[in-house]
């Protein structure tokens, strides 16, 4: 029972750790680029979590294979989280681009990306 529980849940612990790393980057780092990198790590952990809950034992990729015979949902892993994450990856790349554009315009105006210096110069 215990071994089974650990074998089934250690992936969730690692993903939680990754999420905490991203949150730590967003909370504790003072440089805005590092905060953005932390946000990316956070997004990656969410994507990994979705892909992890899509998996199913003794099942293959969601492309229907005639060699497997008649279509049975037990033979294919869950296609829905894969679909959602496919769009989420591209959208996260685009929103990261928007974040960097904002950082570039902040740097052009105030000459720094350090949070404390930035708050002082904005006054």
């Amino acid at each position: 029972m215990e071994i089974e529980f650990i074998a089934g849940h250690n992936l969730y612990w690692i993903i939680s750790l990754l999420l905490l790393v991203g949150l730590y980057g967003m909370l504790a780092k003072r440089n805005l680029v590092k905060k953005l990198v932390g946000m990316n790590i956070f997004q990656t952990s969410i994507i990994l979590f979705y892909v992890a809950i899509a998996s199913k034992k003794k099942a293959t990729v969601p492309v229907i294979d005639a060699a497997l015979g008649s279509v049975d949902p037990a033979h294919y892993i869950n296609p829905l989280p894969h679909t959602l994450m496919l769009t989420a990856i591209v959208v996260s790349v685009a929103t990261t681009g928007v974040g960097f554009a904002l950082l570039i315009s902040i740097f052009r105006r105030y000459g720094t990306l350090d949070e404390d210096t930035l708050l002082k110069r904005m006054r």
Binding site: V61, V63, L86, I89, V90, G97, V98, A101, R108
Partner: protein
Amino acid sequence: MTSSSRNPILITASRLLAPFIQLFALYVIFHGHFGPGGGFQGGALLAASILMLRLSVGAERSELKFRKSWGTPVGALGAMIFAGTGLLTLLLGGRFLEYHFLPLPDLSRAELHSTGILLIEVGVSLAVMAVLVAIYDDIMEGPGGD
């Protein structure tokens, strides 16, 4: 981007590699029905090939392949192909994105759905490619860049 450190090995290798990456991207887009693939992945691959040329041979010569001013218009064109397919089915009596109302003869209902999926995959791949290249170009634009 300064052009003082142009490396001939990098230029030759990337120019040799780019057409094959684009061919593979087209395969990924148009084979997306039958294997792993689709519009988002193919668009990202096309953008990767163009960005590789932008980084290696420089912005002015890679503009022969994709101009800097094309980014947002091509992205809008891709989104318009997508929305236009939906509006076409809407005009022909169906609901939004109901592909079996597409005006193509001699195709069964399922094959019409397959054709509609191919149309919007092309739109998605154009939009993703153009927007990724446009974001890179916009970031490189400005006092420090180029």
